[in-house]
């Protein structure tokens, strides 16, 4: 608003939006310069890096974890927290598979048809999300600590029945998605891509998506504006658990078996990707597109470190250092203090 003018006119209000809009769009993409730098660094680091094969590998490797980032971004935007997603990645497919395979292969001997494994797996993920939501919303417990306890419990629910053993005789159905190739690209990339587009559109242009921002930004105001806050939050937790289970399916297909550590330790990377991608830990801020750029940064860094064969001892230092730098760049480019 130009302060020299005495009466506000339509003209003054119409000049501003364009620039603000432009700024807001850029804010999602503060990591793009980082990605460009990484691509250049990678190209110098190893000639293999910029080949299609390698880049497809990077995408495929990040497909499963990116679904977790998508889930966590939704939950964070709505102002909540879910640590237990990482345990669901291993536990949901493991339990679903055990319902189908014979006892000799480590199953429960119930022998459900293999075609039911994926739906069951997603259902288990949804149930875990629903239970989290129940405790957090109905009991008004701290989301951080509930899902921390659930992280431990859900992992225990995989360790217990499998006795820590890897399940490797899996029904074909659960292996398909993570290993198939569609139109020359791994199916996992297509699936993650489609879900991210759905996330971007859903959060940008759908009522329920926008309500996540309202809830995360000020849940009292959202309630007073007629948004069914509890119901939406519950839905987000359930969706998050389901996406984590789907990530588990993709990971299972990629690895060909379900180890007892599947997904363990992912959650830190998931948060790092979401936050450097601009999603606020305080809720109400961030976009799915931003989160996606966060995933890409993490994936490219890992790939370059692998190609350059940085010593395993020093890798964490380089890795953490790059996260810090990305954070600082996204802070400077974004212009706003983070929380």
């Amino acid at each position: 608003m130009t302060p020299t003018r005495v009466t506000p006119t339509r003209a003054t209000t119409l000049t501003a939006p364009a620039s603000r809009l432009r700024l807001a769009r850029f804010r999602d993409l503060t990591l793009v310069p980082v990605i460009v730098i990484l691509l250049i660094v990678g190209a110098f680091a190893d000639p293999i890096f910029l080949t299609q094969g390698n880049l497809v590998n990077v995408l495929q490797q990040q497909a499963a974890i990116s679904l977790l980032v998508l889930a966590e971004a939704l939950i964070l935007i709505a102002g909540k927290f879910d640590l237990s997603l990482e345990s669901t990645v291993g536990m949901a497919p493991a339990l679903a598979v055990m319902l189908a395979i014979p006892t000799s292969a480590g199953g429960f001997g119930i022998g459900l048809p293999g075609g039911l494994v994926i739906p069951l797996c997603l259902l288990i993920g949804a149930a875990i999300g629903a239970f989290n939501g129940f405790l957090i919303i109905r009991f008004q417990l701290s989301a951080f600590i509930v899902t921390l306890a659930m992280l431990i419990i859900v992992h225990g629910l995989q360790l217990g029945p499998t006795e820590g053993k890897t399940l490797f005789e899996l029904p074909e159905s659960i292996l398909y998605l993570g290993s198939a190739v569609w139109l020359g690209l791994p199916a996992a990339i297509w699936i993650a891509g489609v879900l991210f587009v759905a996330g971007i559109v859903g959060l940008g242009y759908f009522r329920v998506g926008r309500s996540l921002y309202a809830i995360g930004g000020n849940s009292d105001a959202a309630r007073a504006a007629g948004i069914r806050v509890d119901r939406v939050l519950w839905g987000v937790f359930i969706l998050g658990g389901t996406l984590a289970a789907l990530a588990g399916v993709l990971e299972t297909g990629r690895l060909g078996a379900i180890g007892s550590n599947q997904g363990v330790g992912w959650i830190f990377m998931v948060f790092a990707a979401a936050v450097i991608g601009g999603v606020s830990m305080d809720g109400g801020k961030g976009t799915i597109l931003g989160a996606l750029t966060g995933v890409l940064v993490i994936g490219l860094v890992q790939n370059i470190l692998t190609l350059k064969s940085v010593s395993g001892f020093w890798q964490p230092v380089v890795y953490g250092g790059i996260i810090l730098i990305a954070l600082i760049i996204s802070r400077i480019a974004g212009g706003k203090a983070q929380d």
Partner: protein, 493 residues
């Protein structure tokens, strides 16, 4: 007479917004100086500069002719100026006593809590603030918090005190007590800067007045030399008359909002209420009378222990806000920061939250339709903003309140529930907001208006006075201030 405080040629920008553009103020020692201006004129920004919270981009601040201390030297600032900020500086998790003596619990060594509590109680008694020193500040209501803030600012013993809209959340008796206090301080030679949108208060308590308009200084004059109309003209840049309630056709018959036997333990008991289309029903009462609780229950923010609410012929599930809104209710909550808006979301989105469903099919929200609706609302309520995409968090208080209003009106409600609608809005905005209520009523809505301000209640066809959780009297139009206050205070049935 010496100048106690001087701010010269202050420029302050927030990104694209220029909040102060070469503005200044000069306050003579010992006077109570009013600063007035429309919402967003830059008053609070000047306050944060005068109290050393923000650094001006240009210009300087002088105390008794000396340059202000460095920004980092908070102690030096606090010796020179005390302040009641417009935004709450209460820390909810701490007790009232500790809030009163924040960062000065003790001069050195260990804190003696018992002594601190005693000092706090003494302070609260001195300022006649009826709250418990050991209560958690977070458990106080808005008004009590405000009283605590005022008591704290006055207790510093600073020679210069700033009060940024201290009365926006106080009722009549509390305002009177504040003024008594201010007069006493003035007699002791304390200089004060007083910000308010109630111009009659300015005439009552201040000696001179400075007007800001659009980030600039417009005039400074002794109040005695400035007639009311001229003051308003200076603020708005045009001649404006004070708001006159319109003559309306009155209630036309259909009941649009009805409550029967509504009770909520500790707040109100067995309240019956019926609002007809074309009618504005006021709810008045002194502090803790239960009027806000009742209004919030009508909307569904609280689930009543017993009783029913019928909106526009639909019996709504108790405690279900979306159901009430769907049935045709519009709502302006008491505390805009808490329940009013989502600060990070844009003006457009905040304004259209309840009608998101109508902005597209199958759950889609069309940004262009949202923008169109928002521009219409910005126009209708004269919201001062860069446009529909500006986050509401960046707006000035009064403009944020207009956005909250816009949200209530966006769906052409059959019934409106409006709580303290004009708290902290400027004269012109006040007219716009009250006008908006009357517009809606003329279109056939019925409205419940809860307010501590008698001026607001003048547009009501009748005023229900509440006292300790019960409706004690139904006062028809034509009351005098004195009559109504007497009923509210429980002096007269």
């Amino acid at each position: 007479m010496k100048n106690h405080v001087e701010a010269r040629n202050i420029v302050k920008r927030f990104g694209p917004t220029t909040a102060l553009d070469g503005a200044g103020i000069t306050i003579t020692e010992g006077e109570t100086h009013a600063l007035v201006g429309r919402n967003g004129a830059g008053k609070s920004t000047l306050v944060s500069i005068l109290t050393g919270l923000q650094r001006p981009d240009e210009g300087e601040v002088l105390f008794s002719g000396e340059t202000a201390p460095a920004l980092a030297d908070r102690d030096a600032w606090r010796q020179r100026v005390a302040c009641v900020y417009q935004k709450s500086t209460i820390i909810p998790a701490l007790t009232v006593a500790e809030n009163l003596f924040l960062n000065r619990q003790t001069a050195h060594g260990m804190i003696r809590w018992r002594a601190l509590r005693a000092r706090a109680r003494e302070l609260l008694t001195t300022y006649e603030v009826d709250v418990d020193a050991e209560a958690l500040a977070g458990d106080l209501n808005v008004e009590q918090r405000q009283l605590v803030e005022i008591a704290r600012a006055l207790s510093f013993g600073a020679r210069f005190i700033i009060l940024d809209e201290p009365t926006a959340r106080l009722d009549g008796p509390a305002i009177e007590r504040l003024f008594t206090r201010m007069r006493a301080l003035r007699e002791q030679g304390v200089t004060m800067m007083y910000i308010s949108h109630h111009l009659d208060e300015v005439y009552e308590i201040c000696q001179s007045v400075t007007v800001f308009r659009d980030a600039r200084h417009v005039l400074t004059r002794p109040v005695a030399e400035l007639p009311h109309d001229e003051l308003v003209a200076a603020m708005t840049g045009e001649a404006t008359l004070s708001y006159e309630a319109r003559a309306r056709a009155g209630a036309n018959g259909t009941v649009v909002l009805e409550a029967e036997g509504l009770s909520l333990a500790g707040r109100f008991q067995r309240v019956d209420l019926s609002v007809r289309s074309g009618e504005v029903v006021g709810l008045a009462g002194s502090a803790s009378s239960g009027k806000v609780g009742l209004a919030e229950t009508l909307v569904g923010l609280h689930r009543p222990d017993s009783g029913t609410v019928v909106v526009n012929g639909t019996k709504v599930r108790p405690g279900d806000v979306p159901a009430a809104l769907d049935a045709g209710l519009g709502f302006v909550p008491e505390d805009r920061h808490r329940e009013g808006f989502v600060p990070l979301l844009s003006v457009g989105e905040n304004g259209t939250l309840p009608i998101a469903r109508k902005l597209g099919r199958l759950g889609v929200v069309s940004p262009s339709r949202r923008r169109a609706r928002a521009e219409e609302l910005i126009d209708r309520l004269d919201i001062k903003t860069e446009g529909p995409d500006q986050p509401v968090g960046d707006l000035s208080g009064g403009n944020a309140q207009k956005v909250v209003f816009a949200r209530a009106l966006v769906d052409d409600p059959a019934a409106l529930v409006v709580i303290n609608p004009t708290a902290g809005v400027d004269v012109k905005a006040k007219q716009a907001l009250l006008g908006a209520v009357e517009d809606a009523v003329e279109r056939g809505a019925g409205a419940v208006l809860v307010s501590d301000e008698l001026d607001d209640l003048r547009i009501c066809d009748r005023v229900l006075v509440m006292f300790h959780g019960r409706v004690v009297k139904d006062v028809p139009r034509g009351w005098t201030d004195h009559e109504l206050v007497a009923v509210m205070e429980g002096i007269q049935e």
